[in-house]
């Protein structure tokens, strides 16, 4: 995300001009997944949309702190720009809307109907032994927008990674002890 999407000139321009930016370090958050150290200037490897959904989320809030858009995991610069433009457009609609929650739902439905620039095809990964299929690609895009449609204008203080994505993958050991499989220095 840092090396590709946040380093993109167009993304930086729109963030600087139209948004107030905030960053939250998830280190120590038990709901966060795992990550591997790399610098923003290291060459980026191609990764599917939605990868790292537990350790990377982007939210757009109204000035009153209501969530109007949310994405989890990696998204490329084209898709991020589309999401930022969509969020600004939705914010303009909300100023005129009589029913604000309906306006959020309809806007997200419409967004999903259109083709999403830069979105990778839906990819499903089943981890050996895991019950759930991990959804990446355009499937992650759909899930993220459906989350906002199901929770329109959710106050930021009520947001949690678990509510949006579910629990982070854990390994269960004897005696009921649960451990998050992450490298120690990354936690």
């Amino acid at each position: 995300m840092r090396a590709v999407s946040l380093s993109d000139n167009h993304v930086q321009k729109i963030l600087a001009k139209e948004f107030i930016c905030a960053t939250v370090n998830l280190k120590g958050n038990p709901q966060a997944g795992l990550s591997f150290d790399h610098g923003p200037n290291e060459p980026a490897r191609p990764v599917p949309v939605g990868l790292g959904e537990h350790n990377n989320q982007m939210l757009v809030l109204t000035p009153q702190g209501e969530i109007i858009n949310a994405r989890a995991g990696y998204i490329g610069p084209k898709e991020l720009l589309a999401e930022l433009d969509f969020s600004l457009d939705l914010l303009r609609q909300l100023k005129k809307a009589k029913n604000r929650t309906d306006a959020v739902r309809k806007a997200h439905q419409e967004f999903l109907r259109k083709s999403i620039p830069g979105a990778a095809p839906r990819v499903q990964v089943r981890v050996a032994g895991a019950k759930n299929v991990i959804v990446k690609g355009a499937g992650r895009t759909t899930l993220d927008h459906q989350f906002v449609m199901a929770n329109p204008l959710m106050p930021f203080k009520d947001f949690s990674i678990e509510k949006m994505i579910g629990k982070a993958p854990r390994t269960r050991f004897f005696f009921g002890q649960e451990v998050i499989p992450a490298r120690k220095k990354n936690r």
Partner: protein, 75 residues
């Protein structure tokens, strides 16, 4: 003569004060905003609460980036 000297001195002090006031920024502009860092072409609040206060002042939405680790590490 003495009166003239005093007037010149007062004028000098007045002009100097006005220049000093104009040249130096107001304390709020001079001081760096608390809980912010610069990177990726913009200013980032490290507290969403502070970002929301600024967003309400400017009437802009807030972009919140959750990441595992320091966003500005190795920048």
């Amino acid at each position: 003569m003495k009166c003239k000297r005093n007037m010149v001195a007062l004028l000098f002090v007045g002009v100097f004060s006005a220049c000093a006031a104009g040249a130096s920024p107001a304390p709020s502009e001079k001081a760096e905003r608390p809980n912010t860092r610069h990177g990726y072409g913009t200013q980032w609040y490290t507290s969403v609460g502070d970002a929301l206060v600024e967003a309400q002042k400017q009437g802009k939405p807030v972009f919140v980036f959750h990441t595992l680790g320091d966003l500005f590490d190795k920048l």
